[in-house]
Amino acid sequence: MHILRILQTVDRRVLYVLLMLSVTLPFFLTVRLPMRVSPATQALYDRIENLAPDDFVLLAIDWSAGTRGENGPQTEALITHLMRKKCRFAMLAFEPQSPTLCQAIAERLGKEYGSIEGVNWINWGYRVDAKNFLKGFVQDIPAVIKTTNRQEDVTNLNKFPIMKGIKTASDIKLLINIAPSNIYQTYVQFVAGAKKVPMAVAPTSVMVPEVFNYLDSGQIIGMMPGLPGAGEYESLLGTNTKVTRFANSASFAHILIILFIVLGNVAMLLERRQNARAGGAA
């Protein structure tokens, strides 16, 4: 009887410590387990794989350090793929921290893949008021973007040859929103829907179930679902960063949580049965 009660009311701090252990211990483990690639991730990968060199891609990056654990690896995987395919890409943000965070990632990977700022990629920086801004953006990109995150004029084609031929949203071959919130819906409403720009999303896991509705209707053509998606994408790219390592920690922590849910339930059911047998009101 007593043990059944305890199993249902474990002090939350005991849980916290166990959770921390289940996350940190696998860091010292080197086994790597395979992961099956989901259809949505495969669709996004194939889409980028089929882009021609020099195709223009808009990376709408809207995360802050708060969700770096998921959105960071996603951004890295996508930029790696775009740089390998020699596609041109621009980064735009409605979150103040984002330009600084993604500039660092693009600069680092740019060195590795010989991708040059201004020629192969550009950082447009931070803007406010997404809806009103995007309304004009789809019609005339240079006139609405105006400057980069360094306050340099984007219409200066000598300095930014990447902007050659980029006039309206119809010149964007693929739009990918790396999103920690429902900002992706604003892109569906005012960019992808408006100019029929193919759009993919790399959301945090929280929003994954909701995005399936847009995948079914074809408003979104592919998705990299959270950290697992980034892991799947890395296995497609053949890269191996810490994300693949993180998968072990995630696995152990999940198992721990499931175990506790099951224990709590079994204890509850057993206790209920005991009470019923004792004739007490359960």
């Binding site: 002090d11 701090r13 005991v14 916290y16 410590v17 959770l19 921390m20 252990l21 996350v23 940190t24 860091f27 010292f28 708060g66 969700t67 770096r68 654990g69 998921e70 960071g72 103040p96 921290q97 330009p99 920086g125 803007r127 406010v128 809806k131 009103n132 309304k135 105006k146 400057t147 995150n149 306050q151 819906q185 569906v188 409403q189 005012f190 992808a192 829907g193 408006a194 945090t204 896991s205 929280v206 994954v208 179930p209 909701e210 509705n213 079914d216 209707s217 074809g218 408003q219 679902p225 959270g226 950290l227 697992p228 810490k242 993180f246 920690s249 995630a250 922590a253 999940h254 949580i257």
Partner: protein, 264 residues
């Protein structure tokens, strides 16, 4: 001094980062002074950063430079109109704030049509799911050959489940009549059950989302900070273990003696 900071920027960054991380995690034991201090630092830093970035990326290039440096005097109207917001603090002048707030509410309402047309609208035709299994056909549409894909038995079954789910969940959200009668009540109830699949899926997916952030934090402490500060990840792990032990001791032994105060 300034040269020292410039030379050791990375070291400072790591230590500041680790202190901030542990300071906030102290909340997991219970709400305390250290946590509150770091919480306020966080509040200040993020507010300061927001203001600075708004100035650097938006107001300076889009308003200040054209108005001040290029002499476009009429840009003053942007800030005049923008300053209307601040009348919200005055009881007498709050109607002036309502002009600008009302204007933006109006703009958002005017855009609601396009928003609806691009977001909700395409979901309607995508719900026209075929339910009868059939082989592939080619038909002429506008003088062009168009392929109608094959629909297998299992595909038809899946489409049926899809349509039933849409129907039942929508039934749950009708409010202008009582949910009475076997059909209405039954489908609304089934709708609520079917929604539980979505909510369960969101819960399960969110566990991954939050764990990913925790893993990222632990990776910072053990694999970035640990090796630089204490020489190895193992050393940092030992320190973490000690901290966890302390929390357990405080939570299970000490708090049991003094009844727990309500905490955050």
């Amino acid at each position: 001094m300034s040269e020292y900071i410039v030379r050791h920027t990375d070291v400072f960054m790591l230590w500041v980062g680790a202190l901030c991380t542990l300071g906030l995690y102290s909340m997991l034991y219970k709400e305390n002074r250290i946590y509150r201090l770091f919480e306020h630092l966080f509040l200040g830093l993020s507010t300061g950063y927001l203001v600075a970035q708004q100035w650097v990326d938006v107001l300076q290039p889009k308003w200040w430079k054209p108005m001040w440096e290029e002499g476009r005097w009429h840009f003053i109207f942007i800030v005049i109109f923008g300053s209307f917001y601040y009348f919200i603090f005055s009881r007498k002048g709050s109607w002036i704030a309502r002009i600008v707030i009302g204007f933006f509410l109006g703009v958002a309402s005017g855009q609601a049509f396009q928003l609806f047309a691009n977001d909700t609208w395409p979901q309607i035709p995508s719900s026209f799911k075929p339910l009868i299994p059939h082989p592939a056909h080619t038909v002429m549409v506008d003088g062009k050959e168009t392929l109608i894909k094959e629909l297998t038995n299992s595909g038809a079954l899946n489409n049926g489940i899809f349509m039933i789910t849409v129907f039942c969940v929508m039934m749950y959200f009708f409010f202008s009549f009582e949910q009475k009668g076997l059909f209405v009540k039954g489908s609304a109830k089934l709708g609520r059950w079917l929604m539980m699949f979505t909510f369960g899926a969101i819960f399960g997916a969110t566990i991954m989302a939050r764990l990913a952030l925790l893993i990222d934090r632990m990776d910072f402490l053990l694999n970035e900070f640990g090796p630089k500060a204490f020489g190895s990840a193992q050393m940092m792990f030992a320190i973490l273990l000690a901290m966890m032990g302390l929390v357990l001791y405080l939570a299970l032994v000490k708090d049991k003696k003094t009844p727990e105060e309500g905490e955050a």
